[in-house]
Amino acid sequence: MAKHKINPNDWIKLYSDYLFNYTITRVSDREIAQDLVSETFLAGLKSMSNFKGEATERTWLVAILKRKIIDHYRKTNSNKGKAEVRMSYSSDSETEGDWLEERVADPYDKTAEDTIENTELGLAIYDCLSKLPEKQAKVFKMKTLLNHETEAICNELNITASNLWVLIHRARTALASCMEENWFKK
């Protein structure tokens, strides 16, 4: 079996967004997600000697991140136990009993399955994005995911607007094919 190699110098460039997207869907707080990603990289660096090369670098980092997320929730829950829980229900006799219906789960609300599917979809997009040439991926990310203005991207990357649209076109064509292959066909 081919052994995978470890190269921490490329971690930030290659895996930051993937790990961040993985985390943000689980903790719903940007700052906490950033901290957890940062801690994951540092933990990976410290335990590099444990990397056997049987899995890819990314899989190995995700395994570390999962433990970090679990630790985060353990800490949060132990703090929650100390907090006072308050719930207020109307004591009005006319509306008595309505509270139960008001608090029943909304069937149209997002289900856990939807959330999981969205997370997996996001990760599949990152998988396809990682196969693009660096500049195409960067322009696509800035334009599509960060919603930057065309002019701002052109100024930052020192390219013309027509260059930008060529890069976007190539990125979108490649992504659409990749997603067709890896997501819709499955």
Binding site: P8, N9, W11, I12, S16, D17, F20, N21, I24, T25, R30, Q34, V37, S38, F41, L42, L45, N118, L121, G122, I125, Y126, K141, K143, T144, L145, L146, T150, W165, I168, H169, R172, L175, A176, M179, E180, W183
Partner: protein, 83 residues
């Protein structure tokens, strides 16, 4: 060759289609794209694929780090890497 006002090439149609995914195509460009969509199968297929990609991205609620956030992570990592 004289450029037609109404009829556009496939490349131009794709370019307008890409721009319209970001709301950056002008009204006139959308009209020209609409005309081409009536008779060009290739443009229709490209537009369908492109719209599908936009829907997928929007539905995924995909998130990423902005430059300042990435810089922060990079700095703390590089500090540790150099130790």
């Amino acid at each position: 060759m004289k450029k037609s006002i109404l009829f556009i090439s496939c490349e131009e149609a794709h370019n307008i289609c890409d721009k319209s995914q970001y709301g950056e195509a002008t009204g006139w460009e959308r009209v020209k794209l609409g005309i081409r969509l009536c008779w060009c199968k290739v443009t229709r297929a490209y537009t369908k694929k492109n719209n599908k990609l936009t829907d997928v991205i929007n539905n995924s609620k995909i998130d990423c780090l902005d430059d300042s956030e990435l810089k922060k992570i990079k700095q703390s990592f590089e500090k540790e890497l150099s130790n």
